[in-house]
């Protein structure tokens, strides 16, 4: 929030996750290198390094891209979400080794600048079998680079959340480029189709996960709230909302979270100011609505982050009549104090 920045947001849990990631990477790379030394002893060390890092990075990339839809399908996956940023930066560091050695091995020996050589040593841009697939990998690497260097909250604030989010959505373009880099690259030097099959299975898994999660979300948003009265819309019964928790209602395409806190109901906009996390999926901790993604907090009665923080979200009017909850979808300005609705 507004407090002073630290270099890396580590706590006990994140440290454990990072150690797991780190150990996994080391074990993977070591196993790959040892197996290659046993079964393909004629490979050069550069080739082994290029192949072990590329496969590890692609594996991690699939995990990263699955986390979003998985958390929407099941809350158990939230701990992975907290750690996605570290996973992303780890992946970039690994694939940087692959890219650097790719350029070193294939483009640094001539008298042409390696970066120029990357695009011009093979100009069969109109061929499938000979396509200069390394150029595709290069553009993917640039996207991962831009994402990695902006992975600190400082950049979220200073580029603005909108631009930051847009930049990070380019991960899907990068993924597409990687798929093409592998497909077009592998057909040039491998007769074994196993790589292509693994990539296709990976892509199908990712697309299905995104579709299922997207459909689930869309179905929830489609519910029509028909009962209207003086701007208020009937949304649910009082007992359907648990104490210190919320229910999310999508009215006129806006998602609103209605929280129950100490015998009162309060409504705020569902979108966290940090990275757009779903505030209604969090809970009340120390009297504050706490975002499930990274823990930004807001006071239920006015949607303001407690001082010294300055984030604010829209608030809404709620009322309770005969144990029924009515919500007015007209937003008040961000941070406007609302009295809430007495349950009893």
């Amino acid at each position: 929030m507004g407090a002073s920045y630290s270099a890396v947001g580590w706590n006990r849990q994140k440290k454990i996750y990072d150690w797991i990631i780190f150990s996994f990477c080391v074990v993977y790379l070591a196993t790959f290198i040892v197996l290659t030394a046993i079964f393909n002893p004629d490979y050069t060390f550069e080739t082994v390094l290029i192949r072990s890092t590329s496969t590890l990075a692609v594996l991690i990339l699939h995990v990263i891209l699955s986390i979003g839809p998985l958390t929407r399908l099941n809350k158990k996956f939230f701990p992975l979400l907290y750690n996605r940023r570290h996973l992303g930066v780890t992946m970039f560091c690994i694939i940087l080794v692959h890219g650097a050695f790719g350029i070193l091995q294939f483009h640094s020996l001539g008298n042409v600048n390696p970066f120029v050589s990357l695009f011009t040593s093979n100009t069969h841009y109109d061929s499938i079998a000979d396509f200069p697939f390394q150029a595709l990998g290069f553009f993917a690497l640039i996207i991962f680079f831009l994402m990695a260097i902006t992975s600190h909250d400082f950049w979220l604030h200073n580029l603005s959340p909108k631009i930051w989010k847009t930049l990070h959505m380019f991960v899907y373009l990068a993924y597409f480029l990687v798929v093409m880099h592998v497909m077009l690259g592998v057909i040039q030097y491998e007769t074994n189709p196993v790589f292509i099959i693994i990539m296709i299975i990976g892509a199908i898994t990712l697309i299905s996960l995104h579709l299922v999660a997207g459909l689930k979300e869309a179905r929830k948003d489609k519910i029509n709230y028909n009962l209207k009265e003086e701007g208020f819309v009937f949304v649910c019964g009082v007992t359907e909302i648990e104490e210190s928790r919320a229910k999310i209602f999508c009215i006129d395409k806006e998602r609103i979270a209605v929280y129950k806190h100490e015998d009162k109901l309060y409504a705020i906009h569902n979108v966290c100011k940090h990275q757009g996390g779903p505030l209604g999926e969090g809970k009340i901790i120390d009297g504050c609505i706490t975002c499930p993604w990274h823990g930004y907090q807001y006071l239920p009665q006015n949607g303001q982050s407690p001082p010294p923080f300055k984030e604010m979200v829209n608030t809404y009017d709620v009322k309770v009549k005969d144990n029924k909850v009515w919500l007015n979808p007209m937003p008040y300005a961000e941070g406007t104090e609302r009295p809430g609705a007495n349950i009893r």
Partner: protein, 69 residues
């Protein structure tokens, strides 16, 4: 033809990034704490970790810095 084109892009990128490095040196010393109050009391490791971003996104930071004056 292609080689000339790629070379020009390469040189332009290099100049842009060189300007970014120059900017980052001055910015880290003088401007950083002016554009974002979260920087007060932050660690030196934080300042190092944002260096690559400063070199690449320097026009954004420059604009913010000028506006904060």
């Amino acid at each position: 033809m292609l080689i000339t084109f790629i070379s020009i892009i390469f040189i332009a990128t290099a100049i842009y990034l060189a300007a970014g490095i120059l900017f980052t040196i001055i910015f880290q010393a003088k401007g950083l704490s002016k554009i974002d109050e979260g920087v007060h009391g932050s660690s030196w490791a934080f300042k190092i970790i944002i260096i690559p971003g400063c070199i690449v996104f320097w026009p954004v930071l420059l604009r913010k810095w000028i506006r904060s004056k």
